[in-house]
Symmetry: C2
Subunit: 197 residues, 2 copies
């Protein structure tokens, strides 16, 4: 395979990048000066070699513990449970969450053979034993697996006396009633909030 | 900048890749095994260091002359003029062209200060002098600059006695009269072909 085809081939393995897009990207890269290709190549290698999982929350981290976990300004009594590392950034961007996180690295899915032992659940329980946690907030994607995982963990946590909550699911900002799917609309009705006049 | 942000930053320089897509790609890469990141990194470096311009047609090539130019089965009397290296692949995919190419690396654009000396025009004329060329086919994008470049070169080539042609511009397959823009429809009318009954 020649270098151009090889680059197109490697780029087209990326999600959402078909052969046409990969070709367009490859030609773009060839048209930039050499610093761009080597900068991207270095970033790829560094990201893969320098990042590991935080020993506490299992988000990606350069160090043993991630920046959020070592930040003394964060409230350790509040743990937000997410499915994947990529869920942390959007939650951080809200600017309204000051607790810490716990990344499960998946959701319960008996159909796919994913059980509790395949997720970072044991590690969540150890954290709850070690630290004084007052509330666990579930922020899992609204799906059958997300709901099942939230329910499963909630049932284990509640008896221990920990407050368990779930982010609200409903009509997104910018969305319309007309084009909102049945499940979301059902959730939006179920979780309606009383007007404070 | 941490390795993850750096990778997102480098990826988001790619055309059509915003910060959100770049973040999605970065997490995808982090979830693959290390071989993927290093494979892509190597492909980037190789593409940029091993490829240069073919000394004849100015398409990308690993060698002094590209695979098309050294292919003895290709008809050297037929030169197809294109704007960019990325225009060669789709023309090759038609499977119906057996001539060679010439990449101009741009189009005439006085507004942007791009004149004949900024394009590979001199090199095209040298080729015409050296080899026995019977026809030059212009396959430039249908735009003001494309038309101007075709016209400019055509006026210089015709007096030399070389047949000059241009690919047909018209309604694309899968397109509809209703949604075809004015210029295309105008061209389609202008270039109408007589029915052979």
């Amino acid at each position: 395979m020649n270098p151009l085809s090889r680059l197109v081939f490697e780029l087209s393995k990326l999600p959402g990048i078909g052969e046409k897009s990969a070709t367009r990207l490859a030609y773009f890269i060839l048209n930039q000066d050499g610093a761009y290709a080597s900068g991207l190549a270095q970033a790829l290698l560094d990201a893969k070699t320098k990042l590991r999982y935080c020993s506490q929350c299992f988000n990606f981290s350069e160090e043993e513990s991630c920046e959020i976990c070592i930040d003394t300004a964060r409230d350790r009594a509040l743990i937000c449970v997410v499915e994947r590392p990529s869920d942390v950034t959007p939650l951080e961007k809200t600017g309204s969450y000051r607790g810490v996180y716990h990344v499960l690295h998946g959701l319960l899915s008996p159909m796919d053979g994913v059980g509790p032992e395949d997720l970072r659940m044991k590690e969540l329980f150890s954290r709850l034993k070690q630290a004084d946690v007052s509330e666990v907030i579930f922020a899992l994607n609204p799906s059958v697996e997300g709901e099942a995982t939230t329910l499963y963990l909630s049932r284990l946590l509640k008896p221990v006396g920990i407050k368990v909550s779930q982010v609200a699911y409903g009509i997104p900002f910018g969305g319309t009633i007309e084009f909102t799917d049945r499940q979301t609309l059902g959730k939006a009705l179920e979780n309606r909030t009383e007007m404070q006049k």
